[in-house]
């Protein structure tokens, strides 16, 4: 027990806050007894309730990454090749978002962030404020946001609960993003029982900025004023960061006050006002979003980054409710607020911008000598803490990890244990896969998102990657964005599953003609205090880190969301990988749809031969099992380099990655832009597996379908052979409106493309209208 050598602070003006700090109160704040001991050591005295609240949110998993910080160090944060495009300008963890170079003096800031717990309780507001939070992280950097995407996970779409969550989340995202006028390029959505009651809502934003305009979230320059800008503080979102760092329970609905309420109109005003203010040379010293842990986090983080002290007076904080005490003001997560530090003597310049936009700009404090964060309320010091203790001295844990039994079982699985797929069952199996909501068309979702605002939409959602032209920056370049993570693979083999998420994501970019630049990841996992859950987390991080290093695609930021558990159990490990790529030339923009008849369709990468973990096993047998497909980084690199060079030569008319559902699903999807087209495909053998199901529905990695004009067919096959890449002519597109597939000379499928399309297109709409 540390001695109380430092005198206690005076009583708080609100008598409710002058309570004894008991072990129960400490536990309610989510701090372990040993963590509280640290607090006593740091302060040299017992904290008051406001201070306890501040430690509680800053040392929560959400803010401090206490269970993952060590693991995250495995990620490469810079490019090894210093001559490559996409050098990292702001690294992961340094600021609100990472920034990479895209040439000609421009940079791209981007980051993904989760809002899982709030969305589980209140899907509309939870998802909406998730978008709001990530957009603020991007414009805080000085960047003009140019695109949004989401990575969403829900339980089975059969249940009323999941339908309600799905509808609420999509309309929350649609409402907030559309109002802001930032194109939403869709993203990835999976449906799996493991997310029942604990949906995942990960929102990504990317923005563009000049190198010289990168802003920092540091409070420097003693005497510089600290401003609060944006709408007033209310009691909403109290302790949201701590709430996000617990498991969801039956009682979680009672945490509804911890879910914030969003106002996209306010955010739009704040966005425009901040960009206008930041465009004034030399005015802004530091700026930080008030996101998780609100005023607390923004003040101590800016002071800590600036190696300064900071002092604020809560009487000066704009408030939209009366009688708020220091605990509430410091911990509120009211939305659409920012902390700005400007040059002393230039206050009017900031105030004029915010007056124009009808927003509060209140001077609430200033940068001080030393290292303390001092908070006053009604003339009394209500908190006095070393700022760095909150940001840098949070405890870091290395949890025990144990391999779950099902992972070992999956490794020893053999696909010979499965019944043979009869040839006359192919059509029905394909229909089942196309109807699975994970595979079915997501148009029901993205037709609710404005993906064309800002005039940049070049490839709309539904292709392998979304592409936006950067015309708003006045440059002739395009950003491509893709998200990926197949939870089934991560559940069965976390290390390989994470590697698959990475290569699939990168392959999607390559199919679109984009060279991958950098990753932002969202690690969605269960309770890390459970050894089996921590094992999954650790292995996924290792797998992802290995992939990033091999392909020299660094991680420039991201988010960790743990404790994704609910009554029924834990979610599958879901390390969402989001990758930004660059397309220099308009001609390189490639879609996944064939545009006409008489095109040769070629499979690159060889026959699929692995069924483990596939959606075929799910839709046919209801099984999540098996040995996950192997990943060969060298082969993958060969494939993607080949794709990108053929695209730059203008040879490829379409390119589509094989993923969930395998070969027949991918072939069908290539025809769905124009269901009058047909395809005659033939495979001369079953390939190395000898299994019809593995060939047609296996999800082997490193496979891409491309279409070319017949005049380029033989050259393409030859060039592939020269570099050692397997390439097979699958067939030709026709005007028959039928997809015919034969294997080893026997016809196994003759289906109308319009029927397949109907199944695929109507699956989600019809489920949602029931």
């Amino acid at each position: 027990m540390s001695e109380q050598v430092v005198p206690a602070l005076p009583p708080n003006p609100d008598p409710c806050l002058n309570v004894e700090i008991t072990p129960e109160l400490v536990a309610e704040h989510g701090l372990l007894p040993e963590e509280y001991e640290n607090v006593l050591g740091i302060l040299g005295r017992v904290p008051n309730l406001t201070e306890l609240g501040i430690f509680s949110v800053m040392w929560s998993e959400h803010c401090a990454y206490k269970n993952t910080r060590r693991l995250l160090r495995l990620f490469p944060t810079e490019k090894a090749d210093k001559d490559a495009v996409g050098q990292v300008l702001v690294k992961a963890g340094e600021e609100n978002a990472g920034v990479i170079d895209v040439g000609e003096g421009w940079g791209v800031a981007f980051k993904i962030e989760s809002h899982n717990h709030p969305s589980a309780i209140e899907p509309f507001e939870g998802a909406a404020t998730g978008v709001g939070g990530i957009v603020r992280d991007i414009f805080t950097m000085g960047a003009r946001p140019v695109l949004l995407t989401n990575s969403l996970r829900f339980g089975s779409l059969e249940t009323p609960l999941v339908k309600r969550l799905f509808r609420g989340v999509v309309s929350g995202i649609s409402h907030y993003g559309n109002c802001l006028g930032i194109p939403n390029m869709g993203g990835d959505v999976y449906f799996d029982d493991c997310y029942e009651g604990n949906p995942l809502v990960n929102a990504l934003c990317a923005g563009i900025l000049r190198h010289e305009d990168i802003q920092r979230g540091a409070a420097t320059g003693v005497g510089n004023p600290v401003y609060y800008v944006g709408p007033g503080t209310g009691r909403d979102g109290l302790g949201g960061a701590s709430f996000a760092s617990r498991e969801l329970t039956e009682e979680s609905a009672e945490d509804r006050p911890a879910v914030q309420k969003g106002d996209p109109f306010m955010e739009k005003l704040l966005l425009e006002a901040c960009l206008e203010m930041m465009a004034i040379p030399g005015l802004v010293v530091g700026i930080q979003d008030m996101g998780a842990a609100g005023l607390t986090c923004s003040t101590c983080e800016t002071a800590s980054r600036g190696d300064s002290g900071i002092e604020i007076d809560l009487d000066l904080v704009p408030q939209r409710e009366t009688g708020m005490n220091s605990y509430e003001i410091m911990l509120s997560e009211s939305q659409e607020r920012m902390l700005v530090i400007v040059k002393r003597g230039r206050e009017r310049e900031l105030e004029e911008v915010f007056e124009k936009w009808d927003l509060h700009a209140a001077r609430i404090g200033e940068v001080k000598e030393g290292d303390r964060m001092v908070v006053r309320h009604k003339g009394v010091v209500v908190a006095d803490l070393p700022a760095k203790s909150l940001t840098d001295e949070a405890p870091i844990y290395d949890q025990p990890a144990t391999e779950p039994e099902h992972v070992a079982q999956a490794r020893s699985w053999s696909q010979e244990s499965l019944p043979e797929l009869p040839e006359d069952g192919v059509g029905e199996s394909l229909q089942k896969l196309l109807a699975h909501p994970t595979i079915a068309s997501k148009r029901w979702i993205w037709r609710q998102y404005d993906h064309m605002v800002m005039s940049g939409c070049t490839v709309e959602p539904g292709s392998d990657a979304g592409v936006v032209h950067l015309s708003i920056a006045g440059i002739d370049k395009r950003l491509a964005i893709s998200n990926d993570c197949n939870n089934r693979f991560c559940y069965l083999n976390p290390y390989e599953g994470a590697r698959i998420a990475f290569v699939e994501c990168m392959r999607n970019l390559a199919c679109s003609g984009a060279r991958a630049l950098a990753v932002t990841d969202n690690l969605n996992f269960a309770n890390p205090n459970k050894p089996e859950a921590f094992f999954m987390l650790k292995e996924c991080v290792k797998g992802l880190a290995d992939a990033c290093s091999f392909f020299d695609v660094p991680v420039v930021g991201g988010n960790v969301s743990l404790y994704n558990e609910h009554g029924e159990g834990a979610i599958d490990p879901t390390p969402v990988v989001s990758m930004v790529g660059l397309i220099e030339k308009e001609e390189s923009v490639t879609r996944s749809f064939v545009s006409g008849p008489d095109q040769s369709v070629i499979l690159l990468g060889g026959w699929p031969h692995e069924l483990g973990g596939s959606y075929f096993l799910q839709t046919q047998f209801g099984k999540k099992e098996g040995k996950v497909p192997s990943v060969d980084f060298d082969a993958e690199k060969l494939l993607q380099d080949f794709l990108l060079s053929r695209i730059s030569e203008g040879v490829l008319l379409a390119a589509h990655d094989l993923s969930e559902g395998g070969l027949l699903v991918a072939l069908s999807e290539m025809l769905f832009e124009n269901p009058d087209l047909g395809l005659s495909a033939s495979f001369d053998s079953l390939g190395e597996s000898g299994s019809l199901a593995a060939l047609l529905f296996g999800e082997s990695q490193g496979r891409v379908l491309v279409s070319v004009s017949p005049v380029h067919e033989s050259a393409l096959l030859e060039e592939a052979g020269k570099v050692g890449l397997q390439a097979h002519l699958v067939g030709k597109t026709t005007t028959s409106g039928c997809m015919k597939v034969s294997v080893d000379g026997r016809e196994v499928l003759d289906a109308r493309v319009s029927d397949l399309h109907e199944t695929w297109a109507q699956s989600i709409p019809s489920m949602m209208s029931q």
């Binding site: 996209p264 005003l269 124009k356 993205w446 064309m452 605002v453 005039s455």
Partner: protein
């Protein structure tokens, strides 16, 4: 500056409109803040899309009280050309510069897609011969369901005031109305976004003839060739 593009708090297609008019069509254009006066040299006004004042109360209902609306009324009253796109159309209806109102889509959801439209022979600028009988333009709105009483609709039909009709009505609009003009022929309103169909990388470039038709006296010859270079 010839074209004034009004900017309200919450406008979010103001840049897009400026880009299409200034960068693509080569007609000088500027964004004018809603608290500023309309510049004297203004020859045409675009009221762009977005969510002016957050669309609180009703879409366009607060924007119509903005200071610049007084100047806009005068400008339109003198016969100056005004085009309202999406939220701009809603504002012009709320301001009484165009008849009718736009209410919630009948599907109760936001819709963003490239929408086929039938072109009506509305006047010497907006007609099938010039624009083609059918075009496709992006739509992106939650409240684009055009409503007017029977008399107004009958008048619009009788006076050829309908500019475009939806082919496959996405929002429940009466008479499939996608865009209209006033009886005098100088104020236009449409839910589809012509400014989002002007670049080679857009779904198509059907927006160019629409904007050219509106800006006819201001557009120099062969602007499309200039833009595509």
């Amino acid at each position: 500056m010839k074209v004034a593009i009004l900017q309200f708090p919450g406008s979010n297609c103001d840049w897009d409109a400026e880009h299409a008019v200034a960068d693509v069509l080569g007609v000088p254009a500027s964004r004018i803040w809603h608290k500023s006066p309309l510049p004297a040299e203004t020859e045409a006004v675009i009221v762009p899309g977005g969510f002016s004042f957050g669309d609180y109360l009703r879409c366009g209902a607060i924007a119509r009280f903005s200071p610049i609306m007084k100047d806009l009324r005068e400008f339109a009253g003198k016969g100056g050309p005004v085009l309202g796109i999406c939220n701009g159309f809603q504002i012009l209806c709320e301001a009484g510069l165009l008849p009718g109102a736009l209410v919630r889509n009948d599907c109760l959801e936001f819709r963003c897609l490239t929408q086929p439209l039938l072109v009506e022979d509305s006047n010497e600028r907006f007609n099938r011969e010039r624009l083609g009988s059918s075009i496709a333009l992006p739509i992106a709105h939650g409240e684009g369901n055009y409503r007017a009483d029977e008399t107004v609709l009958a008048d619009l039909e009788a006076n050829d005031q309908i500019l475009f009709r939806y082919q496959g009505n996405p929002n429940g609009s009466a008479n499939d109305v996608a865009g209209i003009r006033n009886s005098r022929g100088n104020v236009y309103g449409m839910m589809p976004h012509p400014e989002r169909a002007v670049e080679p990388y857009h779904p198509n470039r059907d927006g160019l003839p629409v904007l050219e038709a509106f800006l006819e006296p201001l557009v120099s010859k062969d602007p499309v060739e200039v833009a595509s270079s």
